[in-house]
Amino acid sequence: MAKEKMSVTERHYLTLDKIIERHGDKPGGLIRVLAKAQELFGYLSRDVQIHVAEKMCLPVGHVNGVATFYSQFITSPRGKYTVSVCLGTACYVKNGQDVYNRFRELLGVDENGTTEDRMFTLRSTRCIGACSLAPLIAINDHVHGHLTVDDVAGLLGKYQELEAEEEAADIGAEPVRAAGHQAEVSPPN
């Protein structure tokens, strides 16, 4: 198991090196590289930041400065599902804050916190530009719109159920897709 994990990480580093080669010396290359690194590794660990700095011939401090400046980048590991609650203006005036508080209450974590079982990470996010569905949240890439405080428990339950099923079936692959792509919107008229 450990051996296999190593190779996955190594593969990620190889992919990352290719991205650095392709985008490294273009304007804004570092941000692109870091975005890709986060996609590969899930977050920008100290090691990943040092690796990027070395490969791009930049001071580590510069890379860390950029990694911590932008809200898109995270430097600590996340849970399997990241619950991003939009708190842009449109969502805020549609009670997005209450929805956020409900998640905080049910998950028992604060901003950027991860549940003990490493299932969920909670964060408030900047506007994702789908304001007509306000208030909305995204669980990983899956958007749920027109959410009310009362929907929160059920929604989390659905993901927990999914996880249990998965464990029972012992597959482990593509759990997110199984959740379906259809967002929770109100029925037609």
């Binding site: 304007p27 975005a35 400046f69 980048f73 449109a90 506007c127 994702i128 304001c131 037609p188």
Partner: protein
């Protein structure tokens, strides 16, 4: 590779019939095309799977019908939106399971599916079949959005069929760069990103610089939370932005362009990347464009979530891979921009206006709008309003008309209290001033700004002090920290507002709030800081009474401020917020 205008015309003629069919409304004929909106909001409500299901269904039944994905129709609140042509029959809130039904009833039996039609709630509840009959579209004037919701944004041929890249071809064949700058200046086009600087003037500064290396940057860092114009344009009509950039490059003598776009907009990034590849393949970007000696390359620079990066000097730093911290101007980017080379930075919507201005002439453009604000403006409607979505209106139309005629007004039983324009840098226009015409100067006179086009409607359930606090918290979060007035001042503003919303504010605090707000405005380094206190100043001016009620009576009339709810027996709005 397309080498000339006539070759471009050939492509246009090939694809024109299928586009023309989508432009007729009200004629019912056997359907041949089904358009599905696949922009972010509709995808989030299932548009993507719907598109696939419709395709599968059509294929399975062997029907001669084309299923096309399009950009935003603007009707985001009722998505996913499907339009069947010919006739332009619009269906809203179409779910995956409706797909077979639409195919059977409309496509095979040629009958309109009544229950999925738009229901005109504010107009008596009648159902409207044809897209162009919807009141939502009636008062709009779609110039920049003309292709959004009409063409497949992932197919360059459909853009060409709508005269795409004709402006570029014309410019390269017959215009001098100076003529292009002159035409854009004469059109009166002003920056659509917020400040409203005359675009032609900006171009002329960069054109006057003597440098072998210049850059065109498209600012797609739509930072205003609650605004989605740029996203929709990049998703729905990406080639118009590319064409605008190439024309700008030719005008100022730049060979490279970058689109700075937020990483929060993955679909926009994907569509732009695809558009760049397609344009390159046809020789509409790259070397010797359309057989001329003009070279122009476009690439993407990713933003990573920082509101301050909408400010141009911060954007430049970010585009070079640094922390997005602004610097003092001058020197302006037109003199010293990306890598210290002359650079113009234009907003997405500004650039998307350019091809149309070239095609129809600056006089045509200048004939629309008001004396100092020409053309149209795209707005995103959100908040407490029935029709949320994306609209384009001529400058000079009243805010009231936008909110009521197009937006359908607030939800039943509610009353509009104010409309926030310009996002965190703007201010609130109170309900009794909604007659204000939408143009740069009129809005400024009311203490707000046009901004990039986000309109948030607030009603009697929203507390204006709370809204001001919301914006100050946002600004405190997003302040880059480079200058003290913004870094420390905004945090203090949040503190005072929290005191007031907690019921502990004094009259002294109100005075301090106003003084400090002016200090932050006057002393900050960049646009973010200079405008950060605007929401406080504008609510203090128009909703002073509401502040007073919080301070003197320890009461929140809207029932939003949690700590003041005890004093609020009988207010139904307050109860809703308790859990």
């Amino acid at each position: 590779m397309v080498q000339s205008l006539s070759e471009l015309q050939d492509i246009k003629q090939r694809f024109l019939p299928q586009i023309n069919e989508r432009l007729q409304s009200g004629v019912l004929a056997p359907p041949t095309q089904i358009l599905v909106c696949t922009s972010t909001a509709c995808v989030a409500s299932g548009g993507d799977t719907l598109y696939k299901t419709l395709r599968k269904e059509v294929k399975a039944q062997g029907l001669d019908v084309r299923v096309v994905r399009t950009g935003c129709f603007g009707f985001c609140g009722l998505g996913p939106v499907v339009v069947v042509h010919p006739g332009a029959v619009l269906y809203c809130k179409v779910r995956d399971e409706h797909a077979p039904y639409i195919i059977r009833k409309h496509v095979v039996e040629h009958k309109i599916v009544q229950e999925l039609l738009y229901e005109n709630v504010s107009g008596g509840g009648e159902r409207i079949s044809f897209m162009y009959d919807l009141p939502f579209f009636e008062k709009q004037h779609r110039i920049v959005l003309e292709n959004s919701g009409l063409i497949d944004p992932e197919d360059i041929n459909e853009y060409i069929a709508r005269d795409g890249y004709m402006a570029l071809a014309d410019v390269l064949a017959r215009w001098t760069p100076a003529q292009v700058v002159d035409a854009v200046e004469r059109s009166g086009l002003r920056g659509r990103g917020g400040a409203g600087f005359t675009t032609g003037k900006k171009w002329s500064f960069a054109a006057a610089e003597d440098s072998p290396q210049k850059y065109v940057i498209c600012n797609g860092d739509e930072g205003d939370p609650g605004a989605f114009m740029d996203r929709s344009l990049l998703e729905g009509n990406p080639h118009a932005v590319l064409e605008g950039m190439a024309i700008a490059g030719y005008a100022i003598g730049a060979g490279e362009g970058y689109i700075y776009v937020r990483a929060e907009y993955p679909l926009a990034v994907k569509r732009i990347e695809l558009a760049i590849r397609q344009a390159r393949r046809l020789g509409l970007l790259g070397e010797n464009i359309l057989g001329s000696d003009f070279d122009f390359e476009v690439d993407i620079a990713l933003g990573a979530g920082a509101f301050v990066c909408g400010e141009e000097t911060a954007l430049l730093r970010s585009a070079m891979g640094f922390r997005g911290e602004p610097r003092v101007r001058p020197p302006f980017p037109a003199q010293k921009g990306l890598y210290d080379k002359p650079t113009i930075i234009n907003n997405v919507e500004t650039l998307a206006n350019v091809p149309t201005i070239i095609r129809h002439g600056p006089e045509w453009f200048a004939a629309m709008g008001t004396e100092n604000s020409k053309g149209t403006k795209i707005f995103s409607l959100a908040g407490q309003i029935i029709n949320t979505g994306l609209i384009e209106v001529p400058m000079g139309i009243s805010l009231k008309s936008v909110i009521y005629d197009i937006g359908g007004g607030p939800p039943p039983g509610r009353k509009v209290k104010a409309v926030q324009t310009g996002g965190p840098s703007g201010g609130a226009v109170p309900a009794d001033l909604l007659d204000v015409p939408i143009d740069f100067e009129s809005l400024q006179r009311l203490g707000t700004i046009m901004g990039s086009g986000g309109l948030i409607v607030l009603d009697n359930t929203d507390c204006m002090v709370d809204i001001a606090k919301f914006y100050m918290k946002f600004a405190a979060d997003e302040s880059c920290g480079a200058c003290t007035p913004c870094r420390a001042g905004v945090v203090q503003l949040v503190g005072i507002l929290e005191k007031i919303t907690d019921g502990e504010g004094t009259m002294e605090d109100l005075k301090m709030l106003e003084e400090l707000a002016y200090d932050v405005k006057d002393a900050s380094l960049c646009g973010l800081g200079q405008t950060a206190a605007n929401p406080v100043l504008s609510t203090l001016e128009y909703f002073h009474d509401e502040y007073l009620v919080h301070v003197r009576d320890h009461r929140c009339p809207a029932g939003v401020c949690q700590k003041l709810l005890g004093a609020l027996a009988g207010n139904t709005y307050g109860i809703d917020n308790l859990h």
